[in-house]
Symmetry: C2
Subunit: 558 residues, 2 copies
């Protein structure tokens, strides 16, 4: 029997018995086969002794049961690792940061408490997935869009609390930012409601974010200070129509103006969807290649001559490559914009974007897709990227896991995703730095760094933010996975030297990644630890989550 | 010499000497005449013994000095009350919650650290006012708009931290929500930076809000857990043009559709400015009366017949009044919308709004102002409300303070502003409840409740939120002010019975107002107290701010 750290067998058995009294025996799991789903499906430590795994799992069905479980855990000092649906596979899945923790699995708490069409919000429990909420809305014919993550089986709440991000209008893509109101069970078993939820009888819990006094919601995201059991989330009124448009630019130096246009389009609200950069000339499509390829006059497959020119480019540039692009009418850059609203507004916004671009970029080109009105149809026919139209699916997830050109069979992936400055200079500097790092690491060892292409473009999902996302493959080869871990750690340090930090990462790297946010001798982390010690003195909730360990484990961090 | 509570004279003098060594003698104030500005200019307790006042004030010029002052305060257990510019006069001004506290006045820290035009943000110190930042932007010709509060002399940071709100596009009106990155001196003297500011060398402090790990920013708003010394704030790219439009509806029952239109216009992004409700028929203009009056065909002054009909209406309605409105073409309701962007986009948005309204409201009417492009000109000529065009001024402040029809000479005002449900039903219920309360209170005592008109409409400044704002006058008459305090306290309780809580209030009422957020035996406040005790064990920072008292003062709350 696997045991929680620092817990006697007697206490552990007593705790499990108590859990069974609370939730019923059938919802306490201790057998290996029952615990298999609570391992990290994409673990970079797979098939090694260090692979993270729980000692047990318990699945409550109500807030009351969560409160009772937490009180038992406090009594016996059992570490609980909370998951909603546990599906964030690229970031550690359902497995606890600290092996031996008991997984507190909230997937049975899957009630949709309220969907308010007129005020455009939902209040959900942790086990509600994007599919669940989407289907609920569709079945009732409510005129609301949900901003969904990749993939659609994820928890609406869990994704928000883990700082996940989506695809539709700026106001809704940052899932934590678009939440409104939490209910949280504290480590002492008490339930707290934030914002207007703290006012008995209030009907505005998911309307006004702040309530009165300090806004405590943020302390419950990417942390381990409480178990969130309800969350309000703002939804988008269903737009009359939606459309995509692509702006193309011919020259390498146009990157500057293309990025300026991206920022203006986003910050002014002119193009509300996530504005994506691509480079047809460098062979980098926007992430939904087959939709966007239709928008430029390049060949569907790159010719050998073209591929060779790309390989010789440095930080994405060579004069020969640029000439090749001009001769073959392949744009150096494109900017993929998405519009939502009444048709006439979409048309006016797209015209305004073109007016701006014509003034700034010589040789600029424009292509737009049809103005569509049916999200489901657009998603089914892939005339619009499904998530961009608020339709959850598993396709992008499928793409991300089993494709990508890695020669080794993959067992999943993990993401390296630092925040870099939102500017052309930021993109070029990141490419220069990571290109050099890649060369140096490749010279030292044979590491396949998936997606670390000669040139990469940042993801624009968070408003005003560039994430420079690189993917690492997980394989069946233990040595290769170890090499990937080493490469990841090296890149973390290199990024931090330039002021670039992760927005989220796999538990294997959380101590290091959080530790690099080191201003003033890690004063921010130490403040988190101060709060941790105050609200969870026995350190029972998710020890180690995002680098926050309880006092008694802070020395060796394991 | 006025003394801080529970501090010996020896210690106090030693602390003042230490403060003088840190900031220079000329920046430590103890004389009555020097401390006068640190009293509550609009105090409801003016000319009484209970009127809040400090024992001293100290004005540092740098973060280092703030750190040193806090360390001294910790040593001698001196309560410090932090202000930025101390200009939120309707909410307590510069006077401490707890009399005898030393005011930590940050107005000398007035550096504009950075304004980034391309990324549309600013990073400021506490002493930077809206005027300061606006002038900085104008002098450099930067194409940026600042969302400003009323009045323009307020601190950009202080207003955000106190959950202040503005007038332009939704994304920017909630000033705390549009902040990005804080630097905070903790009660132990340590400096913490949140978000990307914790990553040394980062250039994205004011770009990405969250950094990694828990988002702690919120705990420093409406609270007393730290002294904020720097803040990033998102700015709006200067729009090509701006325009106002008014939708009018003839019947009482149209309120429902007018409110639905308001919500759709806001939540879809179709009309980005704060959407304001008015009722020409009830004599309630949008808050800038002289701009909006031009938009309906009613008489500039209400005729006596009309005034009499209004007086007889109940919850805003009488059949006679409605008939009068129809006969005289005076709309029952109007909705004032504001648009920002390229001219063709504004036109398309306004047309789309009209399309929607025509489908929903019989007899709907529309008026729009000119499409303008020069904010300064529009503000100077009052062809657009200055704050709606991002231009700070003092005019609204002037209106609010010395006008309003109160028969008694006023010494200021204080605001009662509960959050009510964002719906027509919410408006009608609030009016019904407060109308009854007003009748009952008037029967019991002669209280002038300024602005508690027979019918009132909510303020729409916060996205998705209705604030039902009522103003109370401060007069020279002590008994009358006491009656106002009593009335305010009664209204707080009545509001809470219906689930309506304040978003912000004068220190005199903070204990009561926060206490009414009482879900689960005030578990939210008790969580704040747990954090308070952990980060500020001696309770030196702003004791009592928003109902949060240090442990040793929690019994008697004073």
């Amino acid at each position: 029997m696997k045991m929680p750290v620092n817990v006697s067998q007697t206490d552990f058995i007593a705790a499990l018995d108590s859990f069974a009294l609370i939730v019923g025996k059938e919802w306490v799991f201790t057998k290996d086969e029952d615990l298999f789903p609570y391992r990290d499906a994409y673990s970079p430590l797979r098939a090694t002794f260090e692979d993270r795994s729980p000692s047990a799992a318990v699945a409550p069905a109500s807030v009351d049961e969560v409160q009772s479980i937490v009180r038992v855990a406090n009594k016996y000092e059992i570490p609980l690792y909370t998951i909603s649906t546990g599906k964030n596979l690229g970031y550690g899945g359902a497995a606890p940061n600290q092996s031996g923790s008991v997984v507190l699995d909230l997937k049975r708490m899957n009630k949709i408490i309220e969907v308010n069409e007129s005020n455009a919000y939902a209040i959900v429990e942790p086990g509600v997935s994007y599919f669940d909420l989407y289907n609920y809305i569709q079945e009732r014919g409510l005129k609301l869009w949900l901003d969904v993550a990749d993939p659609g089986w994820g928890s609406v709440m869990g994704n928000a609390l883990d700082h996940g991000v989506g695809h539709t209008a700026s106001r809704f893509r940052n899932h934590f930012d678009s939440h409104c109101g939490l209910e949280v069970v504290l480590p002492n078993g008490e339930a707290v409601r934030t914002g207007m939820g703290a006012m008995p009888g209030s009907k505005t819990w998911a309307q006004f974010k702040m309530g009165m006094g300090p806004v405590l919601d943020g302390i419950f995201s990417q942390s381990n200070f409480g178990v969130v059991t309800k969350m309000g989330i703002w939804l988008m009124p269903q737009p009359e129509a939606f459309m995509q448009g692509v702006v193309t630019a011919p020259l390498y130096d146009d990157l500057h103006e293309i990025v300026e246009l991206l920022k203006y389009a986003e910050n002014s609200g002119l193009a509300p969807g996530a504005p994506e950069l691509g480079s047809p000339l460098l062979g980098i499509s926007n992430y939904v290649k087959h939709l966007v390829d239709a928008f430029y006059e390049g060949p569907p497959q790159l010719r050998k001559e073209h591929v060779d020119l790309i390989a010789k480019a440095s930080v994405g540039y060579s004069a020969d490559l640029q000439r090749y692009g001009l001769n073959n009418k392949i744009p150096y850059w494109n900017l993929h914009l998405k519009f939502y609203g009444p048709k006439k507004v979409i048309q006016a916004q797209w015209e305004a974007i073109q007016d701006l671009a014509l003034n700034k970029i010589k040789g600029v080109g424009f292509k737009s897709g049809p103005i569509q009105t049916d999200p489901k149809k657009a998603a089914d026919e892939w005339t619009f990227y499904p998530q961009d139209a608020g339709v959850p699916n598993m396709d992008f997830f499928g793409m991300g896991t089993r494709a990508g050109g890695n020669p080794h069979p993959m067992r999943g992936h993990m993401w390296f995703s630092p925040v870099i400055p939102q500017s052309a200079e930021g993109i070029l500097e990141a490419n220069s730095v990571f290109e050099k790092a890649h060369r140096n690491m490749s010279a030292l060892q044979d590491i396949p760094i998936w997606n670390l292409r000669p040139f990469a473009l940042p993801a624009p999902f968070f408003e005003r933010t560039f994430l420079f996302i690189l993917g690492f493959p997980i394989t069946d080869d233990v040595a290769m996975n170890k090499a990937s871990i080493k490469a990841y750690r090296t890149l973390l340090d290199i990024a931090a030297e330039h002021g670039w930090g992760e927005y989220r990462c796999h538990p294997e790297f959380q101590d290091q990644a959080v530790g690099l946010y080191s201003h003033n001798n890690n004063s921010l982390l130490r403040l988190s630890e101060t709060i941790k010690d105050a609200v969870d003195p026995k350190g029972i909730l998710s020890p180690g989550r995002y680098g926050i360990w309880p006092k008694h484990l802070r020395g060796d961090k394991k």
